[in-house]
């Protein structure tokens, strides 16, 4: 018996108890409790009827550098990161979509250089559009893109390079990222994913 079914049975029994109290008990206070039982039981049953999704923390995946032989391998890893840890698909679509909140990334690998993509991911405010539609100094359009290499997403350099490979492959472009660029564990500085293990003060992302 699954957990949901067990909880549904509990909910049903609570509703049933409430109905029995209302049918057979005369004390007004207990009848009110019976009524509250019915309301709470129904609430639980409705909540158990909607899709049950737990939010699991992202798996601590590490890229096995040794297994990456070709740029296509990197693109394959990049695709996984794009839809999971990177959370890119929360805002971006690949192809036109009415629900996408940010630019469609279809063909982006052909339009932008790898350096530009890397900068867009790691320093989203570095290249921004200016609004000249008014007098005086042009107003900046702040980028809504988060710093992908910082918390809470915190992708490593290897993961970012893999995403670039994926974006290029998806656009039909030759992949310009090479497995030799990947940082070997122990040789390169640690990935920028760093939780405040014992930090005396928070250094969180700015508003």
């Amino acid at each position: 018996m699954s957990e949901v079914v067990k909880l549904q049975l509990i909910g049903l029994s609570v509703v049933g108890s409430g109905i029995l109290i209302l049918l057979f008990i005369r004390s007004q206070f207990l009848r009110v409790i019976g009524f509250v039982f019915i309301v709470l039981g129904l609430f639980s049953l409705v909540a158990l009827a909607v899709p049950q999704m737990a939010s699991l923390p992202p798996a601590e995946e590490s890229i096995d550098i040794a297994s990456i032989k070709t740029p296509a391998d990197m693109a394959s890893i990049g695709q996984k990161v794009f839809f999971s840890k990177g959370q890119c698909a929360l805002c971006h679509s690949i192809g036109p979509s009415e629900s996408a909140r940010c630019p469609d990334l279809k063909g982006i690998g052909a339009k932008l250089s790898r350096e530009f993509i890397f900068e867009s991911l790691t320093q989203p405010q570095a290249y921004i559009y200016l609004d000249y539609r008014h007098e005086g100094i042009p107003k900046e359009y702040p980028a809504r893109m988060p710093y992908i290499n910082k918390d809470p997403i915190g992708l490593s350099k290897n993961e970012i390079l893999s995403i670039i490979a994926f974006l290029q492959q998806m656009s039909g472009e030759p992949i310009s990222v090479n497995p030799s660029e990947l940082e070997m564990p122990g040789k390169a500085p640690a990935a920028p994913v760093k939780t405040a293990e014992a930090a005396p003060v928070a250094v969180a992302q700015a508003q």
Binding site: V32, L40, S55, C91, D151, P152, A202, A204, Q207
Partner: protein, 618 residues
């Protein structure tokens, strides 16, 4: 011969009737916690243990239940003084003593309610320090100065409560009454700060900011003034008024159902009306405060906003819509029952508008509860042409939901006005013109809200969020404020055509009041879960990761069962507080009736806001 109360009863009464016990408890708590906090404040200190688990229940579930109960109780003890003070002001302005009595009797609840809240706060603190030592050390390091302010505020609050409660009779007339009202205001003033300080700790966890170098005070202040602090403060303040009002209503509803005499029925019917009135008064601006909070969350971190409203919590907002919808329906239903049962001969006159309002509310609720994306199999999705239903998908987006929520607020406000004006006839000459203007404004406002909602489909999201949604809110707020002022002016000199007849409501009115209170409590538990889950696997979002076995947000069904349990526990605690608070009166009444040789009615308790007829018997 009267029975002597048992030791436990005497102990409970001592705690219930003496704010000194509350102060002593808080002081003891502070003294016990001080070494821990001091140790945590030492910058060199780091805990060797990150987590400790509690067997069987699990530390996370235990913290969840205790924190939720503490928060609900805190909402109750912050809502009741606002409720009591508003009633006292009404009594002072109108000269109606029953409001003053209602205020006094609800203030009596505060001492026992404060001690229970402090008790749960203490338990929560100890469990948190034990189960999450590393997180608590981290938060203590940042917020230590605010802990001190928090303790000082408790002392001020307790002293004010002493004077406010014990000085009620001594300061009942003239200038003393004004001073007493000032004390009531100060009670709420301190309570507000007692609320916003812990809010800063919780909101910092959700929306931390860069903490500048500087003194401890500067760092604490920087962390306190985080992007979601004020939206949460305002949202909670209004929500507490709603909670206080609806709990008063539920209490009145239960007493109404068990009333034995016509006087009791009249009295508790009136009390239910006051509770529902204040609850709705707070409920109307609450969606706007919620909207502001969500907007700030999106501005702070779009990803967090998406997690809340477009990610795994999106179905939670369908549940929220259901609860709010039931609350709106319940509140309106109580108003409508009040009109048709308390005002003789009004059934025919109000039947049509009530039916129209019911249809509008149900339609709006239907739209609000429409999910954005449907859960469908691959085959179903192919038939639909995507996860969005070709027709229903149109109603699943924010533009539609903002529109219907504004319309529901407008309709509820109309019920409120209809009830307010029922049985009264304006005598001022300009009333007719004012009513015509109000009717025209209402139609224009409704159409404008719908037009902006429809236009919202054709503009980029940022324009809809920044301009259209805020305009909709502005329009509805404008209607709320102007109509309240105009109606108040019109009714100032109105003559009463039909007197309200109290105590004629059917029993379902009592259940409607209980239902409303349960809905509010469930909503608070639901949104507490949402706020906590929006941090996903972070203790402090993006800064301190949850690396415990509980670093996940459970599915909605599991969470809902816990929420339902918490709601039930809270209801039982509140019932206990009411019972304890009236225990002394029961004794007094029994004793008084013996002495006066009164009949058995004299033994009935003078409950919170006790009926005047019963008072006369004492």
């Amino acid at each position: 011969m009267m029975e002597r109360p048992g030791m436990i009863q005497r102990l409970i009464r001592l705690i219930a009737e003496s704010p000194a016990a509350v102060a002593a408890f808080v002081a003891a708590l502070g003294a016990l916690a001080a070494p821990v906090l001091g140790m945590a404040a030492d910058t060199g200190y780091t805990s060797a243990v990150a987590y400790r688990d509690v067997p069987v229940v699990g530390s996370r579930n235990l913290v969840w239940v205790i924190a939720q109960l503490h928060l609900l109780l805190a909402g109750f003890v912050l809502g009741v003084p606002i409720f009591a003070w508003l009633c006292e002001v009404v009594a002072w302005k109108t000269g109606e003593k029953r409001y003053d009595k209602l205020a006094k009797e609800f203030t009596k609840l505060l001492s026992s309610a404060y001690s229970t809240t402090a008790l749960f706060g203490g338990i929560l603190l100890f469990i948190l320090i034990g189960a999450y030592p590393k997180l608590m050390a981290y938060l203590s390091d940042i917020f230590f100065p605010s802990f001190m302010v928090y303790c000082a505020l408790f002392l001020l609050e307790t002293a004010t409560l002493y004077m406010y409660w014990y000085g009620w009779d001594a300061m009942s007339e003239g200038g003393s009454k004004v001073f007493h009202l000032f004390l009531g205001f100060m009670l709420n003033f301190f309570a507000f700060f007692i609320m916003i300080i812990p809010n800063s700790w919780a909101t910092f966890q959700a929306s931390p900011v860069v903490i500048a170098e500087g003194s401890d005070l500067a760092r604490a202040w920087a962390a306190t003034w985080n992007p979601t602090w004020w939206p949460v403060n305002i949202h909670r303040l209004i929500a507490n008024v709603v909670l206080g009002g609806y709990i008063c209503g539920a209490y009145a509803g239960i007493r109404y159902l068990s009333a034995r005499t016509p006087e009791e029925r009249e009295h508790y019917d009136w009390m239910g009306y006051v509770g529902n009135f204040i609850g709705v008064f707070g409920l109307l601006p609450l969606p706007f405060a919620g909207y502001w909070l969500m907007r700030e969350i999106y501005q702070y971190n779009q990803q967090m906003g998406i997690t809340l409203m477009g990610g795994f919590l999106s179905w939670l907002f369908i549940l929220q819509a259901m609860l709010i919808g039931v609350l709106f329906l319940g509140s309106n239903y109580y108003f409508w029952m009040g009109i048709t049962h308390r005002i003789p001969g009004s059934e025919a006159q109000y039947k049509r508008p009530i039916l129209t309002m019911l249809v509008i509310l149900l339609l709006c609720l239907g739209v609000w509860m429409t999910p954005h994306s449907l859960v469908a199999s691959l085959e179903e999705a192919q038939k639909m042409g995507g996860t969005h239903h070709p027709l229903l998908g149109v109603f699943g987006v924010m533009s539609a939901k903002m529109t219907v929520s504004n319309l529901m607020v407008l309709v509820t406000f109309m019920s409120f006005l209809m009830y307010w004006q029922a049985g009264k006839q304006a005598t001022v000459g300009w009333a007719r013109v004012a009513k015509a203007i109000m009717n025209a404004l209402l139609v224009i406002a409704g159409l404008a809200v719908i037009a902006l909602g429809v236009y919202g489909y054709f503009v980029p999201a940022i324009i809809r969020i920044n301009y259209f949604s805020t305009s909709q809110v502005g329009i509805v707020l404008f209607v709320l404020v102007t109509f309240t002022l105009l109606t108040s002016a019109i009714l100032k000199s109105a003559k009463t055509t039909t007197e309200m007849v109290w105590g004629r409501m059917p029993p379902r009115a009592g259940y409607a009041l209980v239902l409303n209170a349960v809905m509010v409590i469930l909503l608070m538990t639901l949104m507490g879960y949402a706020r906590s889950s929006s941090r996903v696997h972070w203790h402090v979002y993006g800064v301190m990761r949850d690396s415990s076995q509980y670093a996940f947000s459970p599915a909605l069904g599991y969470a809902a069962v816990l929420m339902a349990a918490n709601t039930f526990f809270f209801c039982m605690i509140v019932a206990f507080i009411f019972w304890v608070a009236t225990m002394g009166d029961k004794g007094k009444n029994a004793h008084g009736s013996k002495e006066k040789g009164a009949d058995s009615h004299g033994a009935l308790p003078a409950m919170a806001g006790g009926s005047q007829t019963l008072d006369k018997q004492i």
